[in-house]
């Protein structure tokens, strides 16, 4: 009897999560129907105009989609030279040592720093440096936002990569050493190829984080509605434009912002599904 109640509770909890997700999707779809109706799905996605003035009102998501992909991929690129060495440090070279658990907890700590704190750090510490580097006059923009994003996603990329690296059996690595390979050669020809799909999945998950990150990016990206074409440009990501403009939005504009939210949700969902799929394939093998 107790077992039945427990099972029922579990079932209810699982169902509640499903309903909640469905509810979120329902609201996103319902509230954004207006804008998709107005411009059509592709008309909304591929339109780079964002003009909220009542007489020339026009909304398109393209600048923000580009802004999002631009910052996220550039952040991913920036984070690789830091997260991959950290993963090798923790998952390979110092696997099982105290120093490795220390380093990995410090890296995990990076994940626990609130987004707003990253924003402040970017604003007061990094921005003057970016100005000094002569990237642009104000410091704000894709470049600054991407650097901060890169730091924010390092823990996601590195700890999962380290896990996949540490799962490689010692016997296989010893096989390589016994053939006269050095550590670097073993990593290059045995460990990295074996962990590669896991590492790719880790970076895809990190990309998912970067796509949806809001607060720090909103503070640093410059919040303009143009399509960014270089690292020097200011812009907006899908998340940052929503954060920035939802307060004074109503009518078609609100519907457009929610439409952007729906698109962002779909993009991150697809990214996460791809990562899950790769990891699942990996664990089967």
């Amino acid at each position: 009897m107790k077992d039945k109640i427990f099972k029922g509770l579990l079932f209810a909890a699982a169902l509640a999560i499903l309903l909640l997700t469905a509810g979120v999707i329902y609201v996103l779809v319902k509230q954004s129907l207006n804008v998709f109706h107005e411009y059509g799905v592709f008309g909304f996605i591929f339109n780079a105009e964002w003009d909220p003035r009542p007489e020339t009102e026009e909304y398109g998501a393209w600048s923000f989609i580009i802004g999002t992909l631009f910052t996220a991929f550039f952040a991913l690129l920036l984070c690789i030279p830091f997260s991959l060495p950290v993963a090798l440090f923790n998952g390979e070279y110092f696997k099982g040592y105290k120093i490795s658990s220390f380093v990995s907890s410090v890296v995990d700590l990076l994940a626990g720093i609130p987004s707003i704190v990253y924003g402040l750090w970017g604003f007061y510490t990094l921005r003057p440096i970016v100005i000094q580097l002569g990237v642009n006059a104000q410091g704000f923009g894709i470049f600054l936002a991407s650097i901060v994003l890169a730091v924010m996603i390092i823990p996601y990329a590195s700890s999962l990569s380290a896990e996949f690296l540490s799962m490689i059996p010692d016997t296989v690595k010893e096989g390589a050493y016994s053939l006269g390979a050095t550590r670097a050669e073993t990593i290059r020809h045995v460990s990295l190829p074996m962990a590669s799909s896991g590492i790719v999945a880790a970076y895809i998950l990190a990309l998912g984080r970067a796509l949806g990150e809001t607060m720090a990016v909103t503070m640093l990206i410059g919040n303009t509605t143009n399509v960014p074409t270089s690292l020097r440009d200011t812009g907006n990501t899908m998340a940052s434009v929503i954060a920035n403009q939802f307060g004074e939005a109503d009518g078609l504009k609100l519907s457009a912002l929610i439409g952007i939210g729906l698109l962002l949700f779909l993009i991150t969902a697809v990214i996460n599904l791809i990562a899950k799929f790769i990891m699942k394939k990996l664990s089967v093998r």
Binding site: P169, T171, E174, A176, Y177, S178, G180, H189, S196
Partner: protein
């Protein structure tokens, strides 16, 4: 056990009248300070012989074997002392990578590289050491090595499949081929058949008898009858000491030490 280090082997094998290929001198290995897993072992190994290293679990037989290709260097906590001469050269003073190419190792569980094809697995030693080969050289090495382990006919049409696609026994023969490809002086085998079925075990044993013509083999084994079947000489180790080292036939018929006799007759083990 006073005369443990006195292991001047009175060898009856006709191949081994020449100079020893491998000389162990006071080899000790400790996993932690003061805790010796191998204690002051000295022995001479003669070319083109199979030497079986026997003893109960934890006696240090694998540890001794792994000292010979400097495998312990990978683990900073393990300390190896003493001298090991391979063809007169002290391997303790050589580059460990070089030593490992000269003393190839085959492990307990077959460990082909799962991301490499069968073809690339055989060539792994060259790939890992970044040695460039022409297509003809590669083909030649792969064919020669796979023929040496009697795997060529079984895999020549599936060269591009992953190494892990093969059966356990085939994988182990692939691992032996991968070691042979580098033309080592000595083959070190750490219980190479313990994970295999009897048929595969039989094949590997036949293979070892065949490989003896060109290589010197040291094999750690749990299996006394295996030692009796294939080895020329046998070592019996107990608690890190080399208790007895003698021609296999002599050891199995007239063991010199009580411990050896007890082990061989199954009183402990």
């Amino acid at each position: 056990m006073e005369n443990i280090t006195e292991n001047k082997l009175n060898n009856q094998n006709e191949n081994s009248t020449n100079e020893p290929i491998l000389q162990l001198r006071n080899v000790s290995v400790s996993y932690a300070p003061g805790k010796k897993a191998v204690n002051n072992v000295s022995a001479d190994i003669y070319p083109n012989t199979i030497t079986a290293i026997m003893g109960p679990s934890g006696c240090g037989k694998s540890t001794l074997l792994r000292a010979i290709n400097r495998m312990h260097d990978l683990y900073p906590k393990i300390e190896t002392t003493g001298d090991i001469y391979l063809k007169g050269q002290n391997i303790m003073e050589m580059n460990p990578m070089e030593v490992r190419r000269l003393a190839g190792m085959v492990f307990q569980t077959p460990n082909p590289f799962p991301t490499m094809s069968i073809y690339d697995n055989v060539l792994a030693g060259y790939r890992l050491n970044c040695i460039k080969l022409t297509r003809e050289e590669k083909d030649e090495i792969v064919q020669r090595s796979l023929m040496a382990v009697a795997l060529w006919d079984e895999v020549k049409d599936v060269m591009n499949r992953r190494g892990s696609f093969l059966s356990g026994g085939q994988q182990q023969r692939l691992c032996i081929a991968r070691t042979l490809a580098l033309k080592p002086e000595v083959l070190l085998m750490d219980e190479p058949t313990s994970a295999l079925d009897p048929v595969s075990t039989n094949k590997i044993e036949e293979l070892l008898l065949d490989l003896k013509k060109n290589f010197t083999i040291l094999i750690v084994t749990h299996n006394m009858s295996q030692a009796a079947r294939i080895s020329d000489n046998s070592m019996f180790m107990y608690l890190g000491d080399l208790v007895e080292y003698a021609p296999t036939r002599q050891m199995f018929t007239k063991p010199q030490h009580k411990k050896t006799e007890e082990y061989l007759t199954g009183i402990f083990g």
